[in-house]
Structure formats: C-alpha cells, structure tokens
C-alpha cells in the first residue's frame, strides 16, 4: 500500500474510529465504519486535492455512515428497543465514563461535540463537515457541553453516593 495512504491512516484512524464509536457506542460497528471510510477514501484517492479536503471527507463519511448504521438498525432490527452493549472483559474506566455521558446526549448535540473534542476541529470546519451553518454548530456545541457538565456532575454525585 502507498506510504502516503498509510500515513493518512496513521494520523486519522484513531480519531475517525472514536468519532464513530462515540456515535454508535459499539466497537465492532465503529471498526466497520472506520474501515469502510478508509477503503472508500483510498479507492478514490486520486480525485482528492489537499489535506483539509481529505480530513473533511473522512469525518463526514464517518458521521454519515454511523448515522446510516443507526437508521438501518432502527428499521431492520429490534436493537432500538433494547440496545445491548457488548461486554468487555476489563472495561477501561475512562471509556466507561465517556460512554455513559454520551449515552445520554442526543445525536444532534453529540456529533458536533465529538468532532470538536475528538476530531479537534474548529467550528468552521465542523460546519463544513456537517453541512450546517456556523451559528447552529456553536449553539449545538454549547448545549451539548452544558448537558455533559450536568451529566458529569450527576455521575460524580452518584459515585459519591454509592461509594464506588
């Protein structure tokens, strides 16, 4: 495989994977989305101009494919009635906290926050990725962060109460 493609993969795969994981909260599905996104990018690599273009494309694809996954599940399976998280033998505590916070955040607030915090994008870049205007990005991120602060405070309160 082309060394340039390998470099793109090395630099972005972890972030693309974690954005998909944040939306889907399922490791296998997030891995599937991430692989498909990179395969699609590499297959049509010649048509891209510039690094920014590639990054925007990668994350837009990751978000869209994750949303497609959710839509497909809600249409074709009973998964939406009771989402079963796969059991991990030794769950990472930090990951568990992040999962429980994201679980309670609606997708329209969660996705811009993920792109901001995991992708490290500016509001302008998030607006380009999600094809929404700058004002909407700003308001969704601020609502998302306010909600997450409340949830994190509740999480800490619950931990203190149960003594975990």
């Amino acid at each position: 495989m082309d060394s340039r493609l390998e470099q793109i993969y090395r630099e972005n795969s972890r972030y693309v994977y974690n954005v998909a994981l944040g939306i889907l909260r399922n490791k296998d599905e997030a891995e599937d989305v991430m692989q498909n996104v990179f395969i699609k990018l590499f297959d049509s690599f010649q048509t891209f101009r510039g690094e920014a273009n590639i990054k925007t494309y990668l994350y837009r694809m990751a978000v869209n494919k994750s949303i497609d996954y959710i839509r497909f599940q809600s249409l074709h399976s009973k998964k939406n009635e009771e989402i079963e998280m796969p059991e991990t033998p030794n769950p990472d505590p930090a990951r568990t906290v992040l999962d429980s916070l994201l679980e309670n955040l609606k997708d329209d607030l969660k996705i811009p926050v993920l792109l901001s915090e995991i992708g490290g994008f500016s509001y302008k870049e998030i607006a380009a990725i999600l094809k929404i205007n700058l004002g909407t990005v700003k308001s969704r991120i601020n609502r998302g962060i306010t909600k997450l602060k409340e949830l994190a405070a509740k999480e800490v309160y619950d931990e203190m109460r149960t003594g975990k």
Binding site: D2, Y9, I39, L98, S122, A152
Partner: protein, 142 residues
C-alpha cells in the same frame, strides 16, 4: 462582563473561538471569579474524559484495509457497494435487453416460418396461365 455571559462563552474560549478582546475580558473575569473558574475546571474535566476515554483502533483493521488495497482494481470495484450495484444493474439490464431482442428475433423467425407454410390460393393465376398456355400452344400448332 457578567458571569452569565462568561459561562456562555467559556467553551468557545477554550477552543479559541472568541475574538481577542473577548478573550482578554474572559481571562480577566476568571482571575476574579471563583464560580466561573470552577465552570472552566468542569470543562477541563470533560476534555480530560474525552482524551483518556478514547479507544485504540484494533490492529486487525489496518490488515484488512491492506488486504483490500492489495487486490487488483477490478476486484476492489466489487467491494464498493455503489459501484457494484451499478455494475450488477448494468449486467442485468444488458441481459434483459439481449433477452428481449433475442425473443423478438425468435418471433421474426417464427413469423417467417409461418409465412412459408401458409397455403396461398393460386387458383386464379393458374387459370390465367393455363388459358394463355392453351392459346399459345394452339398458335404454335396452327
């Protein structure tokens, strides 16, 4: 700047998404306001959760992508669902059209064969030929 305004802009401030003057004002406010500083701490805590909660990409992913990229382009095409769908539709369409044309060709052939076997009533022309033959023969004789 009031606490409410600072709180609204606090996350934007951490992302450097506020202009220079606003940034200076927020910084000055934070130096004097423990409540807003505590809010900034909460945001820092959230950022830390995102950073430490990130999962590692399974190693097998790269192997799968490499395997895909090492396949010949024509085979890779069939791993791209949209293009594969177009290809399947194209092939199906071609077969369908060929089937219709072949069917039409068969119909033409059937028609031709049917026509060949149709019994044509030549009785009138036979009478005319017979009559002229008789006349000609008579002239030749006489």
């Amino acid at each position: 700047m009031k606490c409410e305004q600072v709180n609204e802009l606090l996350y934007d401030y951490t992302k450097s998404e506020v202009d220079k003057d606003t940034s200076v004002e927020i910084k000055a406010h934070l130096g004097l306001c423990p409540a807003c500083s505590a809010e900034l701490e909460k945001i820092a805590g959230l950022k830390a959760i995102f950073k430490t909660g990130m999962a590692d990409v399974p190693v097998r992913s790269m192997v799968k992508i490499r395997e895909h990229m090492n396949k010949p382009a024509a085979i890779r095409l069939f791993f791209r669902p949209a293009l594969a769908a177009v290809a399947v539709l194209f092939i199906a369409g071609t077969l369908l059209i060929n089937g219709i044309v072949a069917n039409n060709r068969n119909s033409d052939l059937d028609q031709f064969l049917d026509d060949s076997y149709n019994v044509v009533d030549h009785s009138d022309s036979y009478d005319v030929i017979q009559a002229s033959y008789t006349e000609d023969s008579a002239q030749e004789v006489f």
